[in-house]
Symmetry: C2
Subunit: 251 residues, 2 copies
Amino acid sequence: MSEALSAIARRVPCEMCPLRGNPNFRPFMPEELKFISTFKRGELAADAGSMILSEGSHSAQLFTLLSGWAFRYKSLEDGRRQILNYLLPGDLVGLQGSVIGEMQHSVEWLSPVILCVFQRDSLPTLFKNHPGLAFDITWLASREERMLDENLLSVGRRSAMERAAYLIAFIYQRAARVGLAQGKRLLIPISQQHVADTLGLSIVHTNKTLRKLSDRKLIRWHGRACEVLDEPGLREVAGWDGLGEDKRPLI
Amino acid sequence: MSEALSAIARRVPCEMCPLRGNPNFRPFMPEELKFISTFKRGELAADAGSMILSEGSHSAQLFTLLSGWAFRYKSLEDGRRQILNYLLPGDLVGLQGSVIGEMQHSVEWLSPVILCVFQRDSLPTLFKNHPGLAFDITWLASREERMLDENLLSVGRRSAMERAAYLIAFIYQRAARVGLAQGKRLLIPISQQHVADTLGLSIVHTNKTLRKLSDRKLIRWHGRACEVLDEPGLREVAGWDGLGEDKRPLI
DNA sequence: CGTCGGTTTGATCTAGTTCAACCGCCGTGG
DNA sequence: CCACGGCGGTTGAACTAGATCAAACCGACG
């Protein structure tokens, strides 16, 4: 757990955040950036597999994922697990804990990650002095809700094949938006167990379904990662239109 | 559709909002209430079955459900429908549309409803001058996210029986919190088709599952409504602990 | 009295689960 | 250097939760 965490001394000033170059993030005012820089307490690095935030935790802090992959999940007493959504660079982590006071889900890293750590105590200051940023946080919360809506539709009403294709296309698009699919092929660092727990299916059936997608040359499976070969093809199978066009804020 | 809507002349001042008496809502400062009162443009009444907000709509307004029942849903091209969540008095309606600019789900009323209508344009003013209320809106967005998390867990990982029991217990608790189960028995105004579309099951199987719950004297079905006979029993079947204790804001 | 929306029930079918075994790869320890 | 064990993926066979099909029922309402 926490042994896998280490604070990083070097502190990238938010003005030079590598993510901000990306045109998918809305441009920020200099004073907004300045505040975010003071809001940011430091950086944190964690290894794949370690878990930082767990259900029921009260001392939750607020983070932005700077690099790496993660996922949110909940589980039942007997171990059945449901992955709720994936977290990619630029995503806020731990908002529920900061706003409501208690995390009701857990988060686990899929790769080594770097997080910007924010001071939860200064959230009220942010709301007070930077209404634009406060609105951005609400915007991000609404975005998360929208993604969950779509995931719920998928798990509730799509067939296994559609679900799998949708999931991979969805992750692909999100990754592409944050520049993870620049020219070079994209490898999504998940196992088939993760896919199963996201889709609400058994591993065996998930394997057979992914097999079919592989046979159709839409994806290729590499050990613990999924390579996307034909994203439009996946969307076609899923009957899904793709993400909208909006520029998102980056806190 | 919109013919079923009618503006109501009489305008209850927010200071006398019938919901505010309920101890489950956090108390508001007089100046907050005053602002909400100016934020509120009027009231709207709509009949059961009519649909006000639909997917893709851009002109979305922001509402608070004052009385009545509603639900949010999404559907696929071929008609498969997934109900995402239910809306009860005190819930915010149309936040996604107000914040992101486009509704990506639809809303339908289950009973005659009364809505407080807010001016979407003054949302920036709210964020600017009333950081506490802005925080409340974020709080409500997080709460919705939390409910979706739980619903997703349910649809993805619980059995039909567990899902059905969870759903009804969940709605029951929410209704109880807003005073809809005061002594007298509570009738949830939904059809089995709604239940099916919430649980991601077929109607036939939903019917058989509800039948079992009826046989166990946990619920009773009345035409287009569900009566809850034994809420702890339902939670037991579902393996669900119930909602937490938090006081919620009321915008 | 007929029709319509919603519920009920039985029969049959199938998508997805469970069980079980096996494979290939990689990291570890003897 | 090799044997071993564990993790992740693969495959087939048997099974079942839930889907689909079809028909009837029942109360409300015009």
